[in-house]
C-alpha cells in the first residue's frame, strides 16, 4: 500500500519537475509558461469530456501496456509493441476488406481474431530468434517496428488504398458504420469492456497462475528456474505471443473504433508510450491501468495545447520527452518523506 503511494507520489513530483524544466525552456524560447501549465491541466483534467478523451487514448494504450508488462516480467525486453500494434491493425483491415458485406457479428470476431493473430505473429519471430538462437530481442523487435511501419505505408498506398476520388491518400477505405465499434470519439461500452476483460484476465494470469509466478522468477533468474525444471522457452514464447496479441488487439480497436480506417503512420508513439506506462507501473497490471489513464489524459492535453497555448509541435514533443526523462526517477528524499508519513499514520 505505502509502496504504491510512494511510487504515485514520486511520479507526480517528477512530472512537476519535468514540466518546470519545460517551462524554463519555453520561456527562453519566448512562450508563456503559465499558459502552458493551465492548458495542460485544463486539457488533461478540467475541460468537459476530459475523462472521455483520456479514455479514448488511454484504453488502447492500457491493452498494449499490459502486453508489454507480460513480456518484460518474463525477462524479455520486447520493445516491438509498435510493430505488433501495426501488424495487428493491418491484418484486421484485410479481413474487414475481404469479409466486407457480411453481417457485423461475423466480421467483428474475425477482425479481432485476425488482429490478435497478426500481432502475435509479429512477436513470434523475434521470440523464436531469441529463444532458439539467443538473438537479442531488443534489436530484432526494434527492426520489427521499422519494418511494420513500411508495411503499413505499403498496404495503405497499395493493396488497401482507398481508390475514391483521385485516390491520393495513403489510407484504406473507411469501414462501413456497421463494423465500427465506436464513433470517432473512441469510447464505447464494447471497448471499455474489452479493456476490462483484458485487464482482469491478465491480472489473473500474472497473479493467480503458476505461469505468472514462473515468468516472474524466470525474468529475474532464469538459471534458478531451470534448476527447478522449468522449460524456459515455453514461458518465454508464451510471453512473446501474449504481448504481441495484445498489441494487435489494441491495433484492431483503434482501427474498428476511433479511426475507422487504416492510415499510414497512425499513432506512431503508441508502442513507446505503452512501454513507458508498463515501466512506470512497475510492470503491474493495475498500475498500468492508472498510468494508462494518466498518459491518455496527457495525450489529449498534447492535442489541446497547440490550439490553446499556441505551442509549436516541437514544444509538445519536449513536454512528453521531459516527462519520459523524469517519470521513472526516484529520490530518497520523497521515499523517506512518504515512508515517514505512512509510519506516522499507521
Amino acid at each position: 500500500m505505502t509502496d504504491s503511494l510512494v511510487s504515485i507520489a514520486r511520479a507526480l513530483v517528477f512530472i512537476v519537475v519535468a514540466l518546470v524544466l519545460c517551462a524554463v525552456i519555453f520561456s527562453i524560447a519566448g512562450f508563456s509558461a503559465e499558459l502552458m501549465f493551465s492548458a495542460i491541466i485544463d486539457g488533461a483534467f478540467l475541460r468537459n469530456g476530459a475523462l472521455n478523451h483520456a479514455l479514448r487514448w488511454g484504453l488502447p494504450l492500457f491493452i498494449t501496456a499490459v502486453g508489454v508488462a507480460i513480456s518484460f516480467r518474463a525477462g524479455y525486453f520486447n520493445i516491438g509493441a509498435q510493430g505488433q500494434f501495426y501488424v495487428g491493425a493491418i491484418c484486421a483491415a484485410f479481413v474487414a476488406e475481404w469479409t466486407s458485406g457480411a453481417p457485423a457479428f461475423v466480421v467483428l470476431p474475425l477482425c479481432f481474431l485476425a488482429g490478435m493473430i497478426g500481432g502475435a505473429l509479429w512477436a513470434l519471430w523475434p521470440g523464436l530468434l531469441r529463444l532458439r538462437s539467443g538473438a537479442d530481442e531488443v534489436i530484432t523487435t526494434l527492426m520489427g517496428n521499422f519494418l511494420a511501419g513500411l508495411l503499413l505505408i505499403y498496404v495503405t498506398s497499395g493493396p488497401l488504398k482507398d481508390q475514391s476520388g483521385s485516390g491520393q491518400q495513403a489510407s484504406s477505405r473507411p469501414l462501413e458504420a456497421a463494423y465500427r465499434i465506436s464513433n470517432s470519439l473512441g469510447v464505447s461500452p464494447l471497448i471499455i469492456s474489452i479493456a476490462i476483460v483484458v485487464g482482469l484476465s491478465m491480472w489473473l494470469l500474472v497473479n493467480r497462475t503458476s505461469f505468472g509466478m514462473m515468468s516472474g522468477l524466470a525474468g529475474r533468474n532464469p538459471t534458478m528456474v531451470t534448476w527447478q525444471g522449468a522449460k524456459l522457452w515455453k514461458v518465454g514464447l508464451a510471453s512473446f505471443l501474449i504481448s504481441g496479441a495484445l498489441a494487435g488487439l489494441a491495433g484492431t480497436i483503434e482501427l474498428m473504433g476511433p479511426n475507422g480506417r487504416l492510415a499510414s503512420g497512425f499513432l506512431p508513439a503508441h508502442g513507446f508510450t505503452a512501454i513507458l506506462i508498463a515501466l512506470v507501473a512497475n510492470l503491474s497490471i493495475l498500475g498500468s491501468a492508472v498510468a494508462a489513464l494518466f498518459f491518455g489524459g496527457l495525450a489529449s492535453a498534447a492535442l489541446y495545447l497547440p490550439v490553446i497555448a499556441g505551442l509549436p509541435s516541437s514544444a509538445i514533443d519536449i513536454i512528453n520527452a521531459a516527462i519520459a526523462l523524469f517519470i521513472t526517477a526516484r529520490s530518497q528524499l520523497i521515499d523517506r518523506i512518504m515512508r515517514f508519513r505512512s509510519r506516522a499514520n499507521g
Binding site: 493467480r208 514462473m214 525444471g229 522449460k231
Partner: protein, 523 residues
C-alpha cells in the same frame, strides 16, 4: 613486542542497520596487530557486515573505525585499502567475464596501459608465487568457486596488505585446501600481516587462530579472547547461545572436532540390501559439460534409506554428475533409473515429479532468485509439478512457506522480503526447506552445509538423517571429508570424471585421501 601489542584495528560502538534488521549493534572491539583473529557466529550474526564495515564497504550508522591508530572516514574503501585493509569475499566479488589477470589488475595500481601478454605474465608470476594453479588467461566464469576464491585471495595480496580479512575462506575448500590456506595464512602472519578470519568450524578456529571473538545477533558476546584460554564446547555454547536448542552429543562432537578422530558411523536399521535401488546409474558417460571433466562410465546405486557421499577434490566431475542426474547435462551412453523407472531421457521436471530433489552448488544463482521474494523462491518447486496454467493461491503459498521456513528456523522478517537480503546461511536453509519435502525420493545435496554455522550444519545433518529414515535415497556431495565420513553410509570418490573408489564404514581417511589424489591403492 610493543609492535605486536599495538592495536591494528579499533572498532568503537559500531552499529549497522539494514532497514529494520540490526546487523551489528554497538560492536566495540580492538585487534592486536601481527596475530590471527577469528570471528565466529551463527548465520546472520553479522560477521560479513562486520568485515564490510572494516573494509569501508558499509558506512556504519553509528560508531567509528580506527586502523593502526588512524580514524577511518566512514565508508571509504579507498582509505581502508590505503591503510592496508583487504577483504576476501567469499563470493561474487569478481566480474565473471574478466580473465584472472584482468581481475587482478582492475583493483590494483600501476599498469595503466598494458598488453594481454604483459598482464598475464605479470599476474601468472604472482599466482605462481602464491602457488595458486589457475591460468591468468582463464575467465572467472569458467573457474570453479574454489579457484575463484584463491584468485580473490591473490587479488587481496596484490597490494601489501596489513590487515587481511577473509570471509569464510574455508567454506569452499577441501580439507587439503584448507590446510594449504592455513599455511599461507601463517606465512602471512610471520610476514607481519594481521589476519581476521570469519569461520564456522570451531576446529579450524582452534587450529589456526590466536584469538577468537564471537558475534551473536549482531552483538559482540565475547572476545577477543586467546584461543589457548577457551575450549570447543565453551565456544559452541557462546556461538549458539543459551536460547537455541542444544545439539545432540555426537553432532556437537563432530562439529567441535573433539571426536573427529573416530568415524565409527553406524547405518540406520531401516536400510536393507534387498530393496530395489532408488537411484540406479549404469555406466553413464556424459558429454563434456562446463567446467570439470565429463563423466566416464559412472555406475552408482543408492538404496532407500542410504546416504551416499561423493568425496573428491572439487572439479573432478561432481558438478557434471549432479547436472547429469538433473537432466541438465546430456548423457551420451548408459542409463539412469529412478525408483526402478527409466528416466535417462526424462527432462528435469519429470524427474522432479518422480521424486528427485536437487540442492545445487551455487546457492545464489542456481538455488535462489536473490531479487525475488522468499515465498516465490520457496513455491517454485510446487508450481512446476503442475501445468503452467494451473491455478495458485498466493496467500496459501505464503502461509505454507511461512510455516516451512519457521520449521527450519530461518531468520527472516517476512516471506515477502527478497531472498538476497538473507545471510548466506539462512538462504541455504530456504533451499533445504524447499527441496527436502515429504514426497522427496532421491535428494541430491551439493555442499548443503557450505557456509553454515554449526547450529545450521547440525540441523542439516539431522534433516538428512530424517529423510533417510523416511527411506529417501540421498547423494551428498561435499568437499568436507569429516562431514562425509560422519554421516554417509557409503562413500564414493570421484577422480577426473570416474568413480575412483567405493568405501564402507569404518572409513580409513588415509585410503580415501589416497583415492582422491589418484594414488593407486589395493582393495
Amino acid at each position: 613486542m610493543s609492535e605486536t601489542t599495538a592495536a591494528v584495528l579499533d572498532c568503537h560502538d559500531v552499529t549497522v542497520r539494514f532497514g529494520d534488521v540490526v546487523a551489528l549493534s554497538n560492536v566495540s572491539v580492538s585487534f592486536a596487530s601481527g596475530a590471527i583473529h577469528a570471528v565466529v557466529g551463527q548465520n546472520g550474526a553479522g560477521k560479513t557486515t562486520f568485515a564490510r564495515v572494516i573494509a569501508g564497504l558499509i558506512d556504519p550508522d553509528e560508531g567509528s573505525v580506527r586502523i593502526s591508530g588512524r580514524d577511518m572516514p566512514k565508508g571509504s574503501v579507498n582509505d581502508a585499502r590505503r591503510a592496508g585493509v583487504e577483504l576476501v569475499h567469499q563470493s561474487f566479488a569478481l566480474p565473471p567475464s574478466f580473465t584472472v589477470a584482468e581481475a587482478m589488475q582492475f583493483g590494483g595500481s600501476g599498469g595503466k596501459l598494458y598488453t594481454r601478454s604483459q598482464l598475464e605474465r605479470r599476474w601468472q608470476a604472482h599466482l605462481d608465487a602464491l602457488n595458486i594453479n589457475v591460468k591468468a588467461g582463464q575467465r572467472i566464469r569458467d573457474l570453479p568457486v574454489e579457484s575463484q576464491q584463491s584468485v580473490e585471495i591473490a587479488r587481496a595480496l596484490v597490494t601489501d596488505a596489513k590487515l587481511l580479512i577473509l570471509d569464510e575462506p574455508t567454506a569452499v575448500l577441501s580439507p587439503e585446501g584448507a590446510e594449504k590456506l592455513f599455511q599461507r595464512i601463517r606465512h602471512l602472519k610471520s610476514a607481519g600481516v594481521t589476519i581476521i578470519l570469519i569461520l564456522h568450524k570451531i576446529r579450524e578456529v582452534l587450529a589456526i587462530a590466536d584469538t577468537v571473538s564471537v558475534l551473536r545477533g549482531g552483538k559482540l558476546v565475547e572476545g577477543p579472547v586467546a584461543c589457548s584460554g577457551i575450549d570447543a564446547d565453551k565456544l559452541s555454547e557462546l556461538i549458539i547461545g543459551p536460547s537455541a536448542r542444544p545439539l545432540d552429543e555426537d553432532d556437537r562432537a563432530a562439529l567441535t572436532g573433539s571426536a573427529s578422530s573416530l568415524h565409527t558411523h553406524v547405518g540406520v536399521s531401516g536400510k536393507d540390501g534387498a530393496a530395489p535401488p532408488i537411484l540406479d546409474m549404469k555406466s553413464v558417460s556424459s558429454a563434456p559439460d562446463g567446467d570439470g571433466p565429463p563423466l566416464t562410465d559412472v555406475s552408482l546405486a543408492i538404496r532407500p534409506g542410504e546416504i551416499v557421499g561423493v568425496a573428491g577434490v572439487e572439479g573432478n566431475g561432481q558438478r557434471t554428475l549432479v547436472r547429469a542426474l538433473s537432466a541438465l547435462a546430456d548423457v551420451e551412453s548408459g542409463t539412469i533409473a529412478l525408483d526402478g523407472r527409466q528416466v535417462t531421457t526424462l527432462p528435469l521436471q519429470g524427474r522432479r515429479i518422480a521424486g528427485l530433489r536437487v540442492i545445487p552448488f551455487e546457492r545464489n544463482v542456481e538455488g535462489l532468485s536473490l531479487t525475488s521474494s522468499l515465498w516465490e523462491n520457496w513455491s517454485a518447486r510446487k508450481l512446476l509439478q503442475g501445468s503452467l496454467l494451473s491455478w495458485i493461491r498466493p496467500s496459501a503459498l505464503r502461509s505454507e512457506c511461512k510455516s516451512a521456513l519457521d520449521a527450519w528456523d530461518v531468520r527472516y522478517a517476512t516471506v515477502a522480503q527478497r531472498a538476497g537480503s538473507l545471510s548466506g546461511g539462512n538462504a541455504q536453509k530456504v533451499i533445504l526447506s524447499r527441496e527436502m519435502d515429504e514426497d522427496a525420493r532421491l535428494i541430491i545435496a551439493a555442499q548443503p552445509t557450505r557456509g553454515l554455522d554449526i547450529g545450521a550444519t547440525a540441523f542439516v545433518w539431522n534433516a538428512l538423517d530424517q529423510a533417510r529414515r523416511r527411506n529417501c535415497g540421498i547423494l551428498l556431495i561435499s568437499s568436507d571429508l569429516d562431514e562425509i565420513m560422519d554421516i554417509c553410509d557409503r562413500v564414493v570418490v570421484m577422480l577426473s570424471g570416474r568413480i575412483a573408489g567405493t568405501f564402507e564404514p569404518p572409513y580409513d581417511i588415509a585410503r580415501i585421501g589416497a583415492a582422491m589424489t589418484g594414488v593407486t591403492h589395493d582393495r
